[in-house]
Amino acid sequence: MNNTCVLVTCPMFTYLEQELETRFNLFKLWDHSSSKAEFFNNYSSSIKAVVGNTKVGADAKLIDSLPNLEIVASYSVGLDKIDLDKCKQRGIKVTNTPDVLTDDVADLAIGLALAVLRKVCVCDQFVRSGNWINGDFGLATKFSGKSVGIVGLGRIGSAIAKRAEAFQCPISYHSRSKKPNTNYKYYLNIVDLAANCEILVVACALTEETHHIVNRKVIDALGPKGFLINIARGAHVDEPELVSALLEGRLGGAGLDVFENEPEPPEQLFALDNVVLVPHVGSDTGETSKAMADLVISNLEAHFKGKPLLTPVI
């Protein structure tokens, strides 16, 4: 067994932990939660790599406490839980897991849109509770042909657009700058995008600029016949504004995979028929979890063998 010390920040995926254990001297941060000071005293200068994810990444505090840290390999594509500036300062490498999860996240975005508009979950509950015997269900909302506005036309945003096009949905988007090779309609202002689409999908990275990018103005522009789908980060949306818009009928509905305060989504949404709530499962398939784990392992192995990183961020 390799003596290189690697710290994993929270339980992520058993397969990943097992693979790390066979290759490295693995430390699990949550095993030492009652004796953190002692743990860091003893081991902090040995740890050369951190594996983090969307729940617990590598913030300034953690990085500062690991003087010999060489690489942060994130089991995610999102980098919002990593202090990238600090890593740059210290010359610490960072890798993530792009591409391997693009399909699953895009599939879920469309799945959530279909579930909300076509009331798939509500219908399922209607049948399970035995209510069909008592009378028919009403009408749902058609999905095909609805205009889809995408916030962030990166890998995931483009994959969502490609799928929505197969349903004849006209596609428009907002991003920092216009993308050269697309025919989709571009909106410099996200409020204009929201005003001109029926289904708004958040698919951009979380940065200081995109924090609460979906605010009251955007929600109002989307309106009582509009739907919000969020598979990006909870913090992209002003959640209290979203909740009151849904409760007051100012927004048509929402499909949400992410929330500002996971794992506790706003309970006021639990009784609503026009929302679908899933627990941050965007990339949670057996196939993709394994691919992500393999990519984390490959990046770490490449680093410690002095080879080029597969998916470096910095």
């Binding site: 959530l112 015997i133 749902a140 096009e165 709530l277 941050h280 398939t285």
Partner: protein
């Protein structure tokens, strides 16, 4: 004598009558679309007379009947309508019409196939994604407050790269196939006959299709040949990870055998909009998280219903103007 023209004063007694035995959902929800200068409705369900007697008394000169699954057009009904020349259904399916008898008597039949394809396909894809990615089950998990207590939900299965077998490549099947391609699925199909201009591999039996597929989507019509076509043998060929989605007719699947396979874990899951004995659904399914159930609603959107009502009225007006029907069912 009962008054069947109490609705609208301006309706002429001379307008030909269209018999409606029981109102199809599209008529119940969009009745105002069925007001026409070319015909009026003869609403059998509003009478207290038994149907046989009503038809004998009032439907002798009726040339057209508007039907749906709830009011099948059997040989017995046809016998009571000596002037019948046209059967219109507001559905895509025609399994509730005795086509043999209609053909024998030269009675034309129209359906509403084309207008429902998009919604039907959307629902099929929605059900498939839901089963594979556990959307409804995860939604229940969150609403029951289990996320903070039990942690991450179980992993689902990736849709991309799956081999999806489409059973019946008509309007619905083609629309489903086109959508699945965008998700990176490999589409395979079985149909009565191979379609020459179609890029997907053809399988001459459902059993062979199931053996080579990760999922099956049932999109064909219900006929004597397709009744119980999906049985235990086919489901076992689909396999333990296999998912079946049915947006067509419940009786295409041997429901008892499918329920057994699901309960025993012999197939991976199911998304079902239709059942053999609606609105009754086998209760064993209610406790399964790998099943998503829908109350025969896959085409129930306002857009589809408006389009269907326009098609029905269009066919009726064409018929009464001696013009070609818009969507005749071609006998094969």
């Amino acid at each position: 004598m009962e008054n069947h023209q109490e609705r609208s004063d301006h309706r002429s007694q001379d307008l030909p009558q269209v018999l409606v035995i029981k109102p199809p959902p599209v008529l119940t929800l969009f009745e105002d679309k069925f007001i026409s200068s070319k015909f009026q409705l003869l609403k059998a369900w509003e009478s207290t007379l038994p149907l046989d007697q009503f038809l004998t008394n009032y439907a002798g000169s009726v040339r057209a009947v508007l039907c749906s699954g709830a009011s099948p057009i059997t040989a017995d009904i046809i016998r009571l309508l000596p002037s019948l020349q046209l059967v219109i259904t507001a559905s895509a399916g025609v399994n509730h019409i005795d086509l043999t008898e209609c053909r024998r008597l030269g009675i034309a039949v129209t359906n509403a196939a084309g207008v429902f394809s998009d919604d039907g396909a959307d629902a099929a894809v929605g059900l498939l994604i839901d089963v594979l990615r556990k959307v409804s089950a995860a939604d229940r998990y969150v609403r029951n407050g289990l996320w903070p207590v039990k942690g991450d939900y179980a992993l689902g299965s990736k849709l991309g790269g799956k081999r999806v077998g489409v059973v019946g490549l008509g309007g619905f099947g083609s629309a489903v196939a086109k959508r699945l391609e965008a998700f990176g699925c490999t589409v395979l199909y079985n149909s009565r006959t191979q379609k020459p201009s179609v890029p997907y591999p053809f399988y001459s039996t459902v059993l062979e299709l199931a053996a080579d597929s990760d999922s099956l989507i049932i999109c064909c019509g219900l006929t004597a040949e397709t009744r119980h076509m999906i049985n235990r043998e086919v489901l076992l060929a689909l396999g333990k990870q296999g998912v079946i989605v049915n947006i067509a007719r419940g009786a295409i699947i041997n429901e008892k055998e499918m329920v057994e396979c699901l309960v025993r874990g012999e197939i991976g899951g199911a998304g079902l909009d239709v059942f053999e004995n609606e609105p009754n659904v086998p209760e064993e399914l209610f406790g399964l998280d790998n099943v998503v159930l829908s109350p025969h609603r896959v085409v129930f959107t306002p857009e589809s219903f408006v389009a269907a009502s326009e098609l029905v009225v269009g066919n009726l007006e064409a018929f009464f103007s001696n013009k070609p029907l818009l969507s005749p069912v071609i006998y094969e």
